[in-house]
Symmetry: C2
């Protein structure tokens, strides 16, 4: 085994956002040296790494040059130059997840075909090379309303996804390659994080549940454990494990799933990195997702994925009526509540709906945590200074 | 309330060792700006703060200049220039713990007299202005063997303390001012961490127990909760709270205590900062001691001090036969055990008995954690590279 701890070993991280920032808590805990690159010179991860560089993650030469100075390379965002990763792998730099795995995930059309080929249940879909091809199919009656439209590339935080119910909804769509997906009338939206290391050790985290706002189509709470039947939970964890193994994925893979009305589980999509749905783990789990990611990519033994206590995560997004220097109104009030921990990502400027942080609520009783989560959501506001 | 989060507010920390390093995980989590000063340019806290400076913490001008650039000043080590703290307080820089509190603690003679004056039970003692004064008292029969000798200043990690059973043991003692303390035949050595903020909110952590090696006089395990009668635990927490309030202490105060054979609780000594006996809290507690210290010194509401699960801490000290570039032998083996987390402080060079890190073992059952802790202790070795 390589000596990672207080040694000359260097882990490279492509991307310096909040996911990278939370990864760095763990590299500091283990005293593992890190290099970070991000296009934003004020990126949340610029502090707490050993070396920070400003650079374009989609630029071949930039990624290649950055990668050549580290021993193992990972990423906290999918939008990175895959050709550079391939070249680095050829040169002997370990890249986890691998370029081959990322290639199967980065394009949602390829990802969906991968599920078909690997007999992984997923919603029915068609791929269209352009908006025109989609419109033609509708015109010819081959594609009926309603459906879910997804851009095959570049989607993030709900961007690049739209529910299409009629011709009027088509107007705003981009010209890019896209998929049209069957709408699943699901009971629950679930997620399972899978950790897998190069030696093939695999562990799944408990199933989390995304609770939506009753009227607005927006996730309000990520709840662990999901309030579902244990048999359904077992099925979801097994399916997530199957997906990770099919991809030969190394690191963390967040598998988002639908629980249908018939209690079938369909894979929606995956993210090959620590994930918003795993933030609860910092306070709840024996091993949080960021430590687990570091363990996985360094081929260390995976940690216990069980929870110590129930956890609920609430995203802190910028208030829709505020833009400017951020102020976390009532943060001291939520901190006065038992088991409440705010995480502030370090973005100085708030904008409507910008992800600025999250709050974790832990409690031995998940129903009690759920009540407190609502109280927290009603109290805290991400606004700008007057 | 001041706006601490992603703002221009600056917290200054005197000392950049492992305690400071672990504090910085929490300031990063809250995105609070930090300035750190330490005499060692390679100090564990040099990374993850916003500004690092090399400097002498006992030098008046250095501390004054450093403190003038921050809004609130705290420390992670007692050995700092108190006159500079006083001057900064006069100038309106908030210093927590205060210079007045630190002054009562820094000198063990003053600390012991403080206990007497405040009716806080502690072992009987005499103060001697020099070694000669102590020797004279022994000669005149005023001081009998055995007793515990303590230097009034500069003691740390067991240095500056000796058990004196006969004249022969006196030889090695320094010339400094000292106290001679009654030897307490204790059942258990206990500790309670108290958090107190400037508004006067006080919370105590559960009692921890120091388990000693059966033959060597060395703490092997710090165990939370202590395996003691709940009535004794309650008494210890109440006493610790009384001590904190007597000192008007702000921040964390670690109160080390003896449980006598008659189940009386005597205060041994205090440390006005996060403490080795609270490291378990990172994994075990709803609010870990470092987050709690930050909350306290910023006058934020204090967090829940309860434990999610039982925790045991084992110090990682340098093997007595090794000196040089550090290697953590078998670290991957202990990481394969459920609930085991190593913390590596980031010191490149190991020396016999140097504190290099610690390992936390958590488990719902404290007896099970205790078994695993022994396994961990037998496996991991802090050695130097061949």
């Amino acid at each position: 085994m390589l000596n990672y701890f207080s040694s000359d070993f260097k882990l490279g991280i492509l991307g310096g956002g909040q996911l990278g920032k939370m990864m760095l808590y763990e590299t500091r805990k283990f005293d593992i040296q890190t290099h970070v690159i991000d296009p934003n010179p004020e990126a949340p991860s610029r502090i707490a790494c050993n070396y920070f560089e400003q650079g374009d993650l989609m630029d071949y030469e930039t990624v290649l040059k950055f990668g050549r100075n580290v021993d193992v390379l990972t990423f906290e965002i999918e939008g990175v130059n895959i050709e550079a990763l391939k070249k680095l792998e050829e040169e002997g730099i370990k890249t986890y997840p691998s370029a081959a795995t990322l290639e199967k995930i980065q394009n949602k059309g390829i990802q969906k075909n991968f599920y078909l080929n690997n007999k992984i249940p997923t919603a029915g879909f068609d791929i269209f090379s352009s908006k025109k091809a989609l419109l033609d199919a509708i015109e010819e009656g081959k594609r009926k309303f309603p459906f879910v439209w997804k851009s095959t590339t570049g989607g993030y935080d709900g961007k690049g996804v739209a529910v299409i119910k009629s011709k009027a909804d088509l107007k705003e769509l981009s010209e890019a390659e896209c998929i049209a997906e069957e709408m699943i009338p699901f009971k629950n939206e679930l997620a399972v994080i899978v950790a897998r290391n190069p030696s093939g050790e695999v562990k799944t985290y408990p199933v989390v549940e995304m609770e939506f706002h009753p009227t607005a189509n927006q996730v309000e709470y990520v709840i662990c454990p999901a309030r579902i039947d244990p048999e359904v939970a077992k099925k979801a964890r097994n399916l997530a494990k199957k997906v990770s193994e099919a991809f030969q994925h190394v690191g963390l893979l967040a598998v988002e799933m639908f629980q249908t009305k018939e209690d079938n589980i369909l894979v929606n999509e995956v993210a090959p990195r620590p994930h918003n749905s795993g933030h609860y783990s910092i306070e709840s789990s024996y091993t949080n997702q960021f430590e687990q990611h570091i363990r996985a990519v360094l081929d260390l033994p995976l940690g216990n994925t069980n929870s110590k206590v129930g956890g609920i995560m609430v995203n802190l997004v910028g208030d829709e009526n505020h833009e400017g220097e951020v102020l976390y109104e009532n943060i001291e009030k939520i901190m006065a509540i038992n088991g409440v921990t705010p995480h502030i990502y370090g973005k100085k400027i708030t904008r409507p709906f910008r992800k600025m942080g999250h709050v974790t609520i832990i409690n031995e009783e998940i129903q009690e945590a759920r009540k407190i989560a609502e109280e927290v959501k009603n109290l805290i506001k991400v606004i700008s200074k007057k």
